[in-house]
Amino acid sequence: MTYDLQLSHIGKVYDNGTPAVIDFNLDVNKGEFIAFLGPSGCGKTTTLRMIAGFESITSGDLLIRGKRVNDLPPERRPTSMIFQNYALFPHMTVRQNVTFGLEVKGTAPAEAKRKVDRILDKLGLMEVAEIRPTRLSGGQRQRIALARSLVVEPDILLLDEPLGALDANLRKSIQNELKLLQRDLGITFVFVTHAQSEALALSDRIVVMNAGRVEQISPPRELYTRPQSIFVARFIGANTLISGQVRQASEGMARLDSAFGTLEVQPSHGIPEIGAAASIVLPAEAIQVLPATTPESALRADYGSNVIACTINRLQLVGHILQIGLTLPNGEPVSLEGHADKYRDTLTAGGAAFVAWKPQDATLISH
């Protein structure tokens, strides 16, 4: 089968010799929602602009629906881009903005009007169709940009931080809209963001980038619970890292000597070398907080040796979420949260408790 979009050993070196993107490989299925996530300057926007055709590709092949498009200018690629600032034509009305792409294609006026009406209606822009976009709100402008891109029926929609310019309130609702729209249309979306919450919420797969390199490509949940590198572990989620030395390792179980004694973990990618330095990555969601009164035997039965005594500093109920701040014996602070139903009245601020986790809920990363 052919993929909608393929990046094969894509590299980009700027004119002054600095590499921007190094050996980027990715195959995207039709209808997938892909996010490029990383800190600023990691090369995610450059990659997106290479796909759109605004940046030249130094090495590697870029294929859209099986066809190599490295040398096609942006106007001849079946991609459409949503810019961070939306880049609407300020001197045209909303309708003229949306019609522009069809005019260029030479669509018959009647046909164009029908298509534009349909997309304006779908995105709830009918009422503002004859107004210039400069007078509209951020959310509306974003929808105009979407309409302008979608009306030309691109194979792939590229989005460069499309939620970045919106205020926090609006972001959540627009985020939902975007997700539902993508599911509805079934077009491939490639989305650049530096906000992990957006990437986690929206995408089918996330490409985490750092300093021009791909660190990990995984579905959101896997990325969150099974980071493959220390960078990802620190960048994504709220992980606690416990370092130590591998003492024993086999297919299903590894044991690690740490400041909290011997800890058990199920290695998820390969069997680590014995004696190697490694870290256990513990997602906040994997950590169970148990009252100090829990009998030791019950703890051992469920969590093996993965039990650490701790002190609770802070408990705060925000809505139905209980936010817990606690300190491990080595003084390291850990913040986590749970549904209020789960922890109802079992914990007291200032008191002692246990943290525990199941070996399969943590990840081992060798250094």
């Binding site: 200018p73 810019f83 600032n85 522009f100 302008r148």
Partner: protein, 291 residues
């Protein structure tokens, strides 16, 4: 309790009034009143050596019955239109290059500075410099003959209407380049990328996006050029050998011979022409909004 005190709003309004007052008074006294004066004096009675405020239409009748005067009105309008078109034609491509095509900010600043440097030479000397350029033995003829493009020197270059037009175009084209380049530089590059992304080629992007967005710059430039060309008298005086008489030239001669009333009539006509031109341009673009 300061309940009787002025509200914050009223206090701010008072500050605004005091800030504006000096400027308004200055402009009223030294701009509006003088122009009103021109209108007023144009109806005064003029004798050979004297002028008295007895109302009369004599000067007006004299203006419209003299073909020299009426011709100068048409000459002024013709030269204005030609110079306006020429400065636009010469200036727009330059502005396009400086404002849009040059990506490096430093280079575009350097180019703009290059355009502005001639302004540090006195305006009158710049006008004068065209004489050895255009003359029968001038630089242009010398260069063209050296290159064997022409055999005989071109004589229409100096002391004709053409020399006035060439001179004015060179002197005023920078006023076109500046505002247009400014508007072009303000265009968000992403907008042009978005248009390309939607499949548009350069021609369409230029006519549908770039040109409309630069229009306010064109209008501002056109206003600058119009104001200066319509009020010109020095360039035409120095380069036409007194063959081209603009309204400005007539005002100068009339004032020189102390014919204040006639000078005022011409002044009023110039004001009216100016008013129509500026009002026309401001209909295209709201100057206040573009700032």
């Amino acid at each position: 309790m300061s309940t009787t005190a002025l509200s914050i709003e009223a206090r701010q309004a008072r500050v605004t009034r005091w800030l504006l007052l000096p400027g308004i008074i200055w402009m009223a006294l030294f701009l509006v009143v003088p122009i009103a004066m021109i209108v007023y004096v144009s109806f005064w009675t003029q004798t050979t050596f004297n002028i008295s405020p007895k109302p009369t239409l004599a000067s007006w009748q004299q203006f419209f019955s003299s073909s020299t005067y009426v011709d100068s009105l048409w000459t002024t309008i013709r030269i204005w239109l030609i110079v306006l078109a020429a400065t636009f034609a010469v200036g727009y491509p330059t502005a396009l290059f400086v404002g849009l095509f040059v990506k490096s900010k430093t280079l575009s600043t350097v180019l703009l500075v290059i355009c502005v440097i001639p302004f540090w030479t006195s305006f009158l000397i710049r006008v004068l410099a065209w004489r050895p350029m255009l003359g029968k033995e001038g630089a242009i003829n010398i260069v063209l003959m050296k290159l064997h493009i022409i055999q005989q020197p071109i004589e229409v270059l100096l002391f004709t209407e053409l020399s006035v037009i060439i001179g004015m175009t060179q002197i005023y084209c920078v006023f076109m380049v500046g505002p247009i380049a400014f508007m072009l530089a303000r265009i968000d590059r992403n907008i042009i990328e978005a248009a390309r992304d939607l499949g548009a080629g350069f021609g369409r992007i230029f006519w549908k996006i770039i040109f409309p967005l630069s229009l306010p710059g064109v209008v501002v430039g056109a206003i600058f050029v119009s104001v200066m060309v319509l009020g010109e008298f020095a360039t035409s005086g120095a380069l036409s050998g007194r063959k081209v008489n603009l309204l400005g030239n007539i005002i100068v001669t009339q004032v020189g011979s102390l014919k204040w009333a006639m000078a005022s009539v011409v002044g009023v006509i110039l004001t009216v022409v100016m008013g129509i031109v500026i009002a026309g341009f401001l209909r295209i673009v709201d100057l206040k909004r573009e700032l």
